[in-house]
């Protein structure tokens, strides 16, 4: 990694009694990058985040945020950190600007800069027209945005967002993702989520956690490659009209194809191929199909999506059964 890391986690562990919620994990988040922290529910995402944000101390191991230890320099860490907890809990009886003002005071900002920053963050989070509204009157989407505005208020170098798009409608989700993507470069962002498409859209690096352990990390492309290398990755699906068993044997006979499987055989026959499926191979398949006189309707690549990878590594049992 060329850039210095803003968040460094080393052998971090959190035990609740005998249960290890987070089991000896290590990772780093490079400066100015949006990193996805991905895992199924109950994987230890929130626990990890709570240790990073100094809400609870680790059982063992260390974590540094912006160069400060979360245990020994907790106040300095919290100064440099903007945090959006899950569900963005707020004081419902306060008004938007009033709440942000209160949060600014808690962070030791002076009145002048609070006022300026309130204008900036409400603009950034599409809240300008709601500044005078009581928070209790805001919809879930607006509350979530207010939570993000609060996290951004003191312009912290590091942002930790715990499931920022939960409970939003599709257009709000898209807007929020756009907002987060825009934060890259200016802020280092750790984005916790269990939604895969979010990570693929927004993050340049993904850390996948499951049952308290880190299962994989890398860019989305790298993870897809890893997935392909695991064998069950890349597949090609063909839809063509012709006799099913002839099609299957002909395709299976091609050099490089490991397996040809008929998925459906109604009027049109669908075949799934796995094996070496690079560009040349696909041309060869097309030529062969045309030569035999089978009408080709569709040829598409399937699998090797991040989703498949995610399911595979977080639940090996389910992947084997599929």
């Amino acid at each position: 990694m060329s850039q210095p890391a803003e968040i460094v986690v080393e052998q971090l562990t959190k035990a609740y009694g005998k249960f290890l919620a987070v089991d000896n994990i290590s990772f780093a988040v490079p400066k100015g990058m949006v990193v996805g922290f991905l895992g199924p529910n109950g994987a230890g995402k929130t626990t990890t985040i709570r240790m990073l944000t100094c809400f609870m101390p680790p059982t063992s191991g260390t974590a540094r945020v912006g160069g400060f230890d979360v245990f020994h320099d907790s106040l300095k860490v919290r100064k440099n950190l903007g945090y959006l907890p899950e569900n963005a809990p707020l004081y419902l009886e306060m008004r938007v600007a009033e709440y942000l003002h209160f949060r600014g005071r808690l962070r030791g900002m002076d009145r002048g800069s609070i006022k300026k920053r309130i204008d900036e963050v409400t603009e950034l989070c599409w809240l300008s027209d709601r500044k005078r509204w009581p928070i209790s009157k805001l919809s879930k989407g607006y509350r979530q945005r207010l939570g993000i505005a609060d996290a951004l208020l003191h312009n912290p170098p590091v942002l930790v967002l715990d499931e920022p798009t939960v409970g939003l409608d599709p257009s709000q989700i898209r807007e929020t993702r756009k907002l987060i993507a825009n934060l890259a470069g200016l802020h280092t962002v750790l984005l916790s989520t269990h939604i895969l498409s979010e990570v693929e859209l927004v993050c340049r690096k993904v850390i996948i956690i499951g049952r308290g352990k880190i299962l994989a990390q890398g860019s989305p492309e790298e993870l897809k490659q890893q997935c392909a290398q695991r064998g069950s990755g890349a597949r090609l699906v063909l839809e063509l009209r012709g006799p099913a068993d002839q099609i299957r044997t002909a395709l299976a006979a091609l050099p490089g194809i490991e397996q040809a499987r008929i998925i459906s055989d109604n009027a049109v026959c669908a075949v799934e191929l796995s094996g070496k499926l690079d560009g040349a191979m696909r041309e060869q398949i097309a030529a062969m199909v045309q030569q035999r006189g089978w009408a080709l309707r569709e040829m598409r690549s399937a699998g090797a999506s991040l989703e498949e990878f995610f399911v595979q590594i977080t639940d090996p049992g389910a992947a084997a059964a599929a």
Binding site: R50, E86, Y91, M94, G108
Partner: protein, 248 residues
């Protein structure tokens, strides 16, 4: 300091935004009014508001728990404690902010009884220095009551449980201890040494004997020390509870 004040201010405004604040204020005024009209404002009596202050704690022990119940409980329940504790504030600032906020509201509540002093001054000339020491006594007693409420609020995420626990504690301090000590002294009539000691301890822990002096215009260091050490003890316990919650 400014973060502590910001927290305190939010706490006071929070109480004024909610119906609880006004209900507390109304109930307090109603019962102080009863004390005033039954014990103070009598034809031919001297203009002495003393009884109104001496028995004020009987109202406050049922009123203060409702002011303090949400201080921490509601933060736990709503999850806002996470935004608070991940802000760059120390647990001590958090504690003091909550405490000062509740004390601020408490002062507003007891100040509302000034209306009765005003009414009294229309009919006679009460001793204003005594009124002053009485209010000082109420504020000192408030330190103890609010810190007890704060402690129980920090112990649980259920407001009602917090209110009930602090109410029970305050009833013990405000009524039970004194009643038991009175019963031991007069009804039994025996003079075992340990019983006498118990009686004295209970009497020392009761609130009313400490309020009498203030309502008579006497500032006794023993009374002041009682309220201050009591408040200090419960604030310390609250701090310990806050610290320990982190490790769960």
């Amino acid at each position: 300091m400014s973060t502590t004040l910001a927290l305190a201010r939010r706490e006071i405004t929070g109480l004024f935004y909610s119906p609880i604040g006004y209900i507390v204020l109304a109930i307090y005024l109603l019962f102080v009014g009863l004390l005033f009209s039954l014990l103070v404002l009598q034809p031919g009596a001297i203009a002495d508001p003393g009884p109104m202050f001496q028995w004020n704690h009987l109202i406050l022990i049922f009123v203060v728990p409702f002011m303090t119940m949400s201080l921490f409980s509601e933060e736990y329940r709503s999850g806002r404690i996470e935004t608070l504790r991940t802000s760059p504030i120390t647990d001590f600032q958090l504690l003091m902010g909550k405490f000062l906020g509740a004390m601020g509201f408490y002062c507003v509540v007891i100040a509302s009884s000034l209306i009765f002093i005003l009414i009294l001054s229309l009919f006679g000339r009460p001793d204003y220095m005594t009124v002053l020491t009485s209010y000082l006594g109420l504020v000192l007693m408030g330190l103890l009551m609010v810190s007890i409420g704060l402690f129980f609020s920090a112990c649980t995420q259920h407001q009602i449980l917090a209110a009930m626990s602090s109410c029970v504690t305050l009833v013990a301090l405000g009524i039970l201890f004194q009643a038991i000590s009175y019963f031991l002294g007069s009804a039994l009539g025996v003079s075992w040494a340990w019983l006498r000691t118990l009686r004295h301890v209970l009497r020392y822990l009761a609130i009313e004997p400490h309020m009498v002096n203030f309502s008579r215009g006497i500032l006794d260091s023993q009374n002041i020390v009682f309220f201050l050490t009591g408040a200090g003890l419960f604030l310390f316990l609250t701090y310990v509870v806050l610290e320990s919650r982190k490790w769960r």
